[in-house]
């Protein structure tokens, strides 16, 4: 696997505002990388710097071994799918698709051949002579994809391409983009604010906050071992519960700051008396029989939401504890939750909230 896109200590300022801070990233040939983070975290800016649509203040961008830091977008051989699709409104679908080829003065035969190929891949048959305004959202999305694919670029850049579609179509297009990626063997960089999209589509997820890379790695690594409280809270849905706690004198348990000061074992050792933040994912709070009968919490119930497959139990505590159970929970005033010590995360209670080794 060769490195296709490499970012080395990218910094970008908008005036005094530091939009990207020391971002370094290696993207291998054929990899699907998701840039994810809350709005304003710099993920779109980062993508646009890769595209060349935004300049950078400092750092180096290398694409396929060539330093492109100061090259114009057109010289970088990347294709981009925009959030708004940015189709050419005055051109038919066919002319939208073939715009790049016509600029390069490719022959009529080459263009026709490519159009046939792309319409087959994207399912745009019968729409070639329509104008973008005559298409539905999903169809426009396909044209935008087709316009990128026809280029056969060094990499695809996606800027929240699904955010304008309705929920059902979004799930469908998610799978389709991923299938297309596998089939073309292309390198893709995908920006989204939706961590589910990032987790389901990408081989490699980069979590950004305030212009800084908080953590990057395989999706499940981020889920299993978040490096800090921000990543822990951002990855996973519903979000992880955080409960302030203190390590007990034996160093192997934590005493939670909840009514009754329940004590949980965490299967490791920390200094006695240390203040910590305990992280528990809603789906790791087991309502059924627990493997460790001693490790349990009994909490008052505020509300139960049932979606059929899942039940969400909101506990009447401060901070609020959320439970996600794959069973139908009956109405009850109290719920008993079992906890696997291996699924208990500890973080520092300060602002940075770094993960504490157990």
């Amino acid at each position: 696997m060769t490195c296709q896109i490499s970012l080395d200590r990218i910094n970008k300022y908008y005036g005094a505002y530091h939009a990207l801070r020391d971002v370094s990233l290696q993207i291998d040939q054929g990899q699907f990388v998701a840039l994810v983070g809350p709005s304003g975290c710099g993920k779109s800016t980062l993508l646009r710097t890769i595209a060349g649509l935004e300049g950078i203040t400092d750092g180096t961008i290398t694409i396929a071994g060539e330093d492109v830091t100061h090259l114009a977008p057109r010289a970088r051989d990347l294709a981009m799918v925009f959030q708004s699709y940015a189709l050419y409104p005055h051109m038919t679908v066919r002319r939208n698709l073939t715009y790049s080829m016509r600029l390069k003065r490719r022959t009529r035969a080459e263009i026709d051949h490519a159009v046939t190929e792309i319409t087959r891949i994207t399912g745009l048959e019968g729409l070639l002579e329509r104008y973008p305004r005559e298409l539905s959202g999903g169809q426009r999305q396909r044209v935008a994809m087709g316009r990128a694919i026809i280029r056969d670029p060094k990499a695809f850049l996606f800027d929240e391409p699904l955010s304008n579609l309705d929920a059902a179509l979004r799930v469908h297009m998610r799978a389709e983009i991923r299938k297309l990626h596998n089939r073309l063997g292309a390198t893709s960089v995908y920006v989204t604010h939706d961590q589910i999209e990032a987790m389901t589509m990408a081989d490699h997820v980069v979590v950004l906050r305030a212009g800084r890379v908080e953590q990057q790695g395989a999706p499940l690594d981020l889920y299993d071992r978040p490096v800090n409280r921000f990543v822990a809270g951002f990855i996973g849905s519903p979000a992880m519960n955080f409960i302030p706690a203190t390590v007990t004198p034996d160093g192997g348990h934590v005493s939670l700051e909840l009514p009754g000061q329940p004590v949980l074992r965490f299967g490791g050792r920390r200094p006695a008396g240390e203040a910590v933040m305990v992280g528990l994912r809603p789906e790791h709070l087991q309502t059924g029989p627990s493997p460790d009968a001693a490790n349990r919490l009994t909490l008052p119930v505020a509300m139960i939401e049932r979606t059929g497959a899942q039940s969400y139990v909101v506990c009447d505590t401060v901070p609020e504890v959320m439970v996600s159970a794959p069973v139908r929970v009956e109405d009850t005033d109290e719920i008993v939750l079992g906890i696997d010590p291996a699924q208990l995360h500890l973080f520092a209670p300060d602002e940075a909230g770094l993960r504490l080794d157990i």
Binding site: A51, L53, A72, P73, R74, L78, A79, M80, F82, S84, A86, L87, Y88, P89, H90, Y99, S100, L103, K104, R133, R147, R151
Partner: protein, 300 residues
């Protein structure tokens, strides 16, 4: 009484009043003068019969008379030159300025506002200012051209038959540029930025973006600006009145000014009507193109 007010307010009464007011205005101030003008072009009209409809019909005599006059051909070509050159130059300069102000630089909006100065000034005032600028013996333009060594002798911009028409055209271009620039700026602002970004990702340079994105997406605005430009230029009267009065010996005369001269200076009212009827025909054709181009805009 209450019933009447209710009918008026909720029924078709109110609608009727609104329609009648609009139609009434059009009939009194547009349709009636147009029809009256058309009627006069077929009659023998003098100052004594101006206010009565009872005038001798002369058929197409007035038309024959106008078309057979020796100055007609010259004035026709002057009009074509005046409209063609004015509209072309206004469009090019206006478009260039609109593109320039599209760039993001300090005080861009403020400077663009300054360009409106020409637009809000009465054309007669603009004409007076230009007549100073173009004055043969003490004009600023001659002074400048002499200083930078382009000319040795003063050019008599307003009284030399070879240049008089072009002097009016220059003043008219100056007058029309702001309108073109503002309308085209609005059109340019309506093109989404990400379309340009998509084009640059697709490999289009600045020039290619202009010809493949900007120009085709401005089609409706360009159509509107050109047809309105033609109509406004055909209406341009004040500048001729202020600068050359169509002279010397019709060298800078155009149909709209000639029509006025015939009707109100020579009192050949029938002939003046003929000229304006011919112009109305042309303006209607241009207006038709304008309506077509704005309809396209609404559809997209």
């Amino acid at each position: 009484m209450l019933k009447f007010t209710n009918t008026f307010r909720d029924g078709i009464g109110f609608d009727t009043v609104l329609v009648v007011m609009a139609l009434g205005y059009l009939v009194v101030f547009s349709a009636y003068p147009l029809a009256y003008n058309l009627l006069m072009s077929f009659q023998s009209v003098d100052l004594f019969t101006l206010t009565s409809f009872d005038r001798p019909f002369v058929g197409l005599d007035n038309y024959r008379e106008v078309l057979s006059r020796p100055e007609t051909a010259m004035i026709f070509w002057n009009t074509v030159k005046f409209v063609g050159l004015s509209v072309l130059a206004q469009l090019c300069v206006g478009f260039a300025l609109a593109l320039f102000f599209q760039l993001d630089f300090p005080a861009a909006t403020w400077l663009r506002g300054l360009f409106l100065a020409g637009w809000i000034m009465p054309a007669l005032v603009v004409g007076a200012v230009w007549s100073w600028v173009l004055a043969g013996d003490f004009g600023v333009l001659n002074h400048m051209l002499r200083q930078i060594g382009v000319i040795r002798e003063n050019i008599f911009w307003l009284s030399d038959p070879d240049v008089a028409l072009y002097s009016v055209i220059i003043a008219n271009i100056w007058l029309g540029v702001p309108f073109n620039m503002i309308l085209l700026s609005v059109g340019l602002a309506g093109i989404p930025k990400d379309v340009y970004e998509a084009a640059s990702m697709d490999g289009a340079g600045r020039v290619q973006q202009f010809f493949t994105i900007t120009l085709p997406m401005m089609r409706a605005q360009l159509g509107a600006v050109i047809s309105l430009g033609v109509i406004f230029t055909l209406q341009q009267f004040d500048l001729f009145a202020a600068l050359t009065q169509g002279g010397p010996s019709n060298a800078s005369n155009v149909f709209q000014y000639w029509s006025w001269q015939l009707a109100f200076q020579n009192y050949e009212i029938g002939l003046g009507s003929v000229v304006s009827v011919l112009m109305i025909g042309f303006v209607i054709a241009v207006a038709f193109i304008y309506v077509r181009s704005t309809r396209y805009e609404q559809e997209s």
